[in-house]
């Protein structure tokens, strides 16, 4: 028991005691405590175990930079792994455990690993575990690694995203940030101040300082009042700036108050703010560095500033018999404050010569000060017992060993590191500053750093840039920790140097220094200072690794925000969605659209339903909702000319009232999309696109129009969602349509195949196209989107007696495969050319140019052995699996003996022909009709005959009827 609660100091609310559990035992704290301060107040020393050696660890810091006290809170779905005890607000009933220790943090059986530390230095795993094989060792290593446990249930809480913009964003509500905020507000610009803590004031909180003659507490309160009163000033507390990105974007994670009212079904746990600011001021402060000496990881070794924070903010005194070890003036503040609070300062060890110690006279009045002295090692295992100081010579090496000093706590200060992370996120450069022995932002840059974040320290005095004692023997290096969480020691750094991992990035990656969950907040600068010393270079020459967002670990759920579950992918619903539901459609997602796959009747299987629907189309009529098809109007005097340049076929020559099937090519001549182009009028075309490509086709047209041929008098409009489309298809289609009373003559003579008519239907405008994807007479009826459901019911009502059946996509696919019609994405891929599909008839030979034309004459396009569309008929009459390959037995040097010559792209058991029908892409397939080939799917082998595609009604009489 060493840490203790002071009777009066601190800002915790002593009227609100809180009970909590740590490692299964009950403790008490107060509202305003963190888990860390409460544990310290209760005298708990060991709050964690290190990642690799499982050494006992205590609290080093009081803020987000804490490397050692890694805890898991809660249980079940609400459990949270890997929190620092310093960021856990104490709430009633809090249940917390240390991670990475078993059975408990105080008696961890894996601590025996620490005995082996000499044999398992940094990067040892690269040198062993190779024989007989890594796979034998890896599972054990994995089990030992990792910190906390992930929850095994979905997160019951929610996260949201919020956006804002502001003239000035100030990050950090310490004194520097508050000053910046006041200045900004007084200049009249909109100002947002954010602070990761629940309260403003930063390190000044609770301290007995004064600012411009006012006690600091009152000064903070006045500043906040002014900010809150200003109409253009705001602040966000409990909000951490996790990253700065391009063009003034700040990502800020605001977390809710865990003591706030809980929700029944989960609650809003956090909010990711994305704030654009014209000007960003970083007042993120600085982080104190520890010193590196043997046993510096022992519980009881704490940053001097952390002890101050625990005292001023939480009223907790870190120890009773304290040694301070430092290389700067500021650290003395902690000694004075703790001494005032009743702790004994046994000694101050200062790396500097007496002349450099600014507070020497004052300090000497109160406690012994040993100049040019630093700890060589700390004695004690589970708790600091004593310090063994070493006298330094002028070079920083050990001159002599001093007598052991008994103590229970060692406060350390190796100087201060400005928080330059945010500045670096957006590429800000850094400069080594000898005065503070750290990197500082090079300004001006995209953001303005102020206060300690900019390297401005008023009270550090003259620093001696030494973080560890050079010892001749070096026995201490094995337990002198540079990175506490990842157990990287002085020996490890020296090993890396010896093995030529001398770049600062190599050092980091080889030893894992700075790669723990604290991202090296307390270790990076010490690491590179030691590296520089080893190499005989300056830290400026060695440089620093790049800081990466997020500044502080942030829940994955916060980044996903609302994009989880049903909101991950917004589903597009058809206008007649309700009608389909009423008819029992099985809805499925096809791309972004939710569409009827089939309409099963009682106890029907998918195949039965699909066959019934397909047969209805062949024998009577089917009704298919084709509303998701892309529809783009192309209008203007040059519309024909434009489409002539876009499409490989001739469009300008098409007569109004006619339509034709066309493929759209990329400049590489590969097929981008297919669909029907209709000429509604001289200057008005309707371009049809597949459901998945509507936006892509619209963008493609605009790309060429705006960028390549801006002189053309054409405009395009995507009307996909303006028109719903109901297709009736089958021998009775015309009869059913005629009953509906459209203003359009649908007779065979007046309305031939591949024509389009406009008129009215049900009292609203309509457009009907005669095109067919099923091989039967088909009418695609377009009607304003809102009337889709009405049209659907009217058609069903009037067609019911004639056998009109609603059909889903799967039946349509069945019918088109019987016909040998291609489906984009099945028969095409990223390399398919028109001729591969037998569509060279759609490519004009007369036109001088069109998009993709030149690519059609490249050597690859002219090869005779390209994969071509064929029909495939299995000899046993079955439907071959889609994705089965046509296997060749002709040897090929690269592809081996049994290589693929193509594959099955579509396949069904044809209800019309009562046998398997398949389409495929096969090398030189068109010249191989009649050949028997082997199909292979996994271990299954089938024989099939290559045929022309289109087994059903090859002459196409039925659809022209």
């Amino acid at each position: 028991m060493t840490g203790w609660r002071h009777a009066s100091l601190g800002l915790v609310d002593r009227s609100r005691p809180i009970s909590f559990r740590w490692e299964g035992r009950s403790y008490r704290g107060f509202r305003g405590d963190t888990l860390a301060s409460a544990l310290l107040a209760n005298g708990v020393s060991i709050v964690g175990r290190s990642f690799k050696h499982h050494r006992p660890r205590g609290l080093l810091a009081a803020g987000l930079e804490e490397p050692s006290a890694i805890v898991q809170t809660g249980a079940g779905a609400k459990s949270l792994p890997n929190l620092r005890a310093t960021e856990v607000d104490l709430v009633e009933g809090l249940e917390a455990h240390a991670v990475n220790a078993w059975p408990s943090v105080s008696t961890d059986v894996f601590a025996s690993l620490g005995l082996m530390k000499r044999f398992i230095p940094a990067a040892f795993y690269y040198k062993t575990f190779m024989w007989p094989g890594w796979e034998l060792f890896e599972p054990w290593i994995r089990r030992l690694a990792g910190l906390g446990h992930a929850p095994d249930q979905p997160d019951p809480d929610t996260y949201e995203h919020a956006h804002d913009h502001v003239d000035t964003l100030i990050i950090g509500a310490g004194v520097a940030g508050l000053q910046a905020a006041l200045a900004s507000i007084r200049s009249g610009v909109t100002t947002l101040l954010i602070e990761h803590d629940a309260v403003a004031g930063g390190r000044a909180l609770g301290a007995e300082q004064s600012l411009s003659g006012t006690p600091v507490g009152s000064w903070i309160a006045e500043a906040l009042a002014e900010i809150d009163a200003a109409p253009h000033g705001r602040r966000l507390m409990r909000s951490t700036a996790i990253g700065l990105y391009d063009h003034g974007l700040a990502a800020i994670y605001e977390h809710s108050d865990p003591a706030g009212p809980p929700g029944d079904h989960g609650s809003l746990r956090g909010r990711l703010w994305k704030i654009r600011a014209r000007r960003i001021i970083v007042a993120a402060g600085a982080i104190e560095r520890p010193l590196v000496f043997s046993g510096n990881d022992c519980p009881g070794v704490m940053l001097a500033s952390a002890a101050e924070t625990y005292l001023h903010r939480y009223g907790v005194v870190s120890g009773r018999r304290i040694v301070l070890a430092a290389n700067n003036d500021r650290a003395y503040r902690a000694a004075f404050a703790l001494n005032d609070a009743g702790a004994e300062i046994v000694a101050v060890l200062d790396a500097r010569p007496e002349a450099d110690i600014g507070l020497l006279e004052i300090a000497r009045e109160r406690f012994p000060v040993h100049s040019e002295t630093l700890p060589l090692r700390v004695e004690g295992r589970d708790r600091v017992r004593a310090v063994r100081p070493a006298r330094l010579d002028g070079s920083g090496a050990m001159a002599s060993l001093s007598d052991e000093i008994a103590c229970d706590t060692v406060l350390v200060s190796g100087g201060w590191t400005p928080s330059v992370h945010l500045h670096s996120h957006i590429g800000g450069r850094l400069r080594w500053d000898d005065m503070i022995s750290s990197f500082v932002p090079v300004q001006p840059s995209d953001v303005l750093s102020v206060g300690e974040a900019a390297g401005e320290f008023a009270d550090l005095g003259r620093i001696r840039p030494i973080v560890c004692v050079e010892t001749p023997g070096g026995r201490e290096e094995e337990t002198a920790f540079v990175d506490l969480q990842n157990d990287v020691t002085l020996l490890d750094v020296r090993l890396a140097v010896r093995e030529n991992f001398r770049s600062v990035e190599h050092l980091k990656r080889y030893t894992t220094l700075g790669m723990a969950t604290d991202q090296g907040k307390t270790s990076n600068i010490n690491g590179l200072a030691i590296l520089a010393a080893e190499l005989g270079r300056t830290p400026a020459e060695v440089g620093v690794t790049r800081f990466r967002p997020p500044y502080h670990p942030t829940p994955i759920g916060a980044f996903a925000g609302h994009r989880i579950g049903d909101t991950l992918r917004p589903r597009r619903r058809l206008a007649a969605d309700a009608a389909h539901a009423r008819m029992g459609a099985r809805m499925e997602d096809y791309g972004h659209w939710s569409r009827p796959a089939f309409y099963p009747q009682a106890r029907e299987t998918e195949r039965e339903a699909v066959h019934r629907e397909a047969c209805a189309v062949r024998t009577a009529a089917g009704l298919f909702d084709a509303s998701s098809l892309g529809k783009i109007e192309v209008i203007g005097p040059d519309a024909g000319l434009f489409l002539d340049r876009i499409y490989p076929g001739s469009m300008a020559a098409m007569k109004p009232g006619r339509c034709k099937y066309a493929v759209m090519l990329s400049e590489h001549a590969t097929i981008l999309d297919d669909g029907v182009v209709a000429r509604l009028d001289t200057n008005r075309f309707l371009v049809g696109a597949t459901s998945g490509n509507a936006e892509k086709v619209a963008a493609h047209l605009e790309d060429w129009l705006q960028c390549e041929w801006p002189e053309l008098r054409v405009m395009t409009t995507d009307v996909t969602m303006d028109w719903a489309v109901m297709t009736i298809s089958g021998p009775k289609a015309r009869l059913i349509l005629a009953q509906l009373g459209a203003s359009i003559d649908v007779s065979r003579e007046a309305f031939p195949h591949l024509s389009v008519r406009e008129g009215t239907l049900l009292g609203v405008p309509c457009r009907i196209q005669r095109v067919s994807f099923t091989g039967e007479v088909s009418f695609e009826i377009s009607i304003p989107w809102a009337y889709a459901e009405d049209l659907h019911s009217r058609l069903m009502a009037s067609g019911a007696s004639l056998g009109l059946t609603p059909v889903g996509i799967e039946a349509i696919m069945t019918l088109r495969i019987e016909k040998g019609f291609i489906h984009l994405g099945s028969e095409t891929d990223g390399v398919t050319l028109p001729d591969d599909l037998g569509l060279s008839g759609l490519v004009s030979r007369r036109k001088a140019d069109f998009v993709g034309k030149r690519s059609l004459s490249r050597p690859e396009a002219l090869r005779q052995d390209r994969r071509q569309l064929v029909g495939l008929e299995t000899l046993d009459g079955s439907a071959p699996p889609i994705g089965a390959h046509v296997v060749s037995d002709r040897p090929d040097s690269l592809r081996g003996a049994a290589h693929s010559e193509g594959w099955v792209t579509s396949s069904i058991l044809s209800p019309t022909l009562s046998r398997g029908i398949a389409l495929g892409l096969v090398e030189a397939g068109r010249s191989r009709h009649g050949e028997i080939v082997i199909l292979r799917d996994g271990n299954r082998v089938l024989k099939a005959r290559i045929t022309p595609p289109g087994a059903y009604d090859p002459s196409g009489e039925r659809m022209h009827d």
Partner: protein, 420 residues
Amino acid sequence: MTAARPWRRYSGLSLLRAGFERQRGWPPAFIDATPQSSYDVVIVGGGGHGLATAYYLARHHGVRRICVLEKGWIGGGNTGRNTTVIRSNYFFPESAALYDLSLRLYEGLSAELNYNIMFSQRGVWMLGHSRHDEEILRRSANAMLLNGVDAEFYNDAETHRRIRGLHPNPSFPIRCGLLQPRGGVARHDAVAWAYARAASRLGVDIIQNCEVLGFEISDGRVRSVRTSRGDIRAPVVGLAAAGHSSNVAGLAGLSLPLTSYALQAFVSEPVKPVLDTVLITSATGVYLSQSDKGELVIGGGLDLFPSYAQRGSLPNMERSAAGVLELFPQFSRLRFLRQWAGICDVSHDSSPILSATEVEGLYVNCGWGTGGFKAIPAGGWLFSHLLATGRSEARARAFTLERFLTGAMIDEAGAAAIAH
């Protein structure tokens, strides 16, 4: 060239011995060489591909005087900035031959180089979410088997059974899974270091902090490389500069069919094992594994504008997070620890370029896009053959610059509709 370089075999025994010596006996893993005035082969780029090329040149092609020039520190480009996935589940035989060569070399690499690169063959899954995905994945599975690559195709129930913790009812329902059991992950930095150590031992000069400033070219032949550390004469120069290939080639007056994009990756804080395989999902383009250290390693798509900034952006991070939670909603409370980006040189078909150029003696190894790490051994193997003989090895023939003239693309993404 130089005297024998100090070397000590890595093994459990040597580690034990080193323990008693307080780790003092280890020699440098590789030597920082001083540039000589001439070499037989100069390789520009000290990433995985460059170092592997140097190693195989020295090991198999008897080339004696080789140097690798690295502008920064070895392995500092995409070799050290990826999601460490190794797989050969490709569709076209040309790609399969290339990437399976790589996988097979990876399988023996720790032993060959005496360096544990921790290649963990925990399997790589591609998840299918729609009828179309299922067709494409089955087509891919069969292609893989015909290509001599291991592939196992599973239905929805079996996929769920084999991947612990998958969300039972996601918005993108899982219809099937295609597993390549031999696929897995490795320790990315170690691959560069292992090749560097082995190459250095064979006498290869690895020169860090040496920037290439230009090339001396006369009569259509490369004569020497101008560097920040002096001119280096060489009859053969191989460029292996990944994301910066266009810029280095530009110094020789070459224009390459490449665009450089940032590819981001993310890691979470480490947790105890929760995922023992590698997942790639076509629905959101996310890929996911768990490192030996316990971090979830997450990758997504490219940032879709050209960039050399090597830094992440927010929209991609949000998409990747959503993609992960779609599969594993229980990871929502885990926290992202770090976000970073590598610069990928992407060709039109996302396939690599291993090719001679119009400058005689100057060769390029580039265009690996987002998949360069898994290809390191094969890239080195095939590029070393090209540099040593001036001819493409059979498995590299489809990957020359010629294809951009003829149009013979090897478009895996286009063919298989799987993100590559």
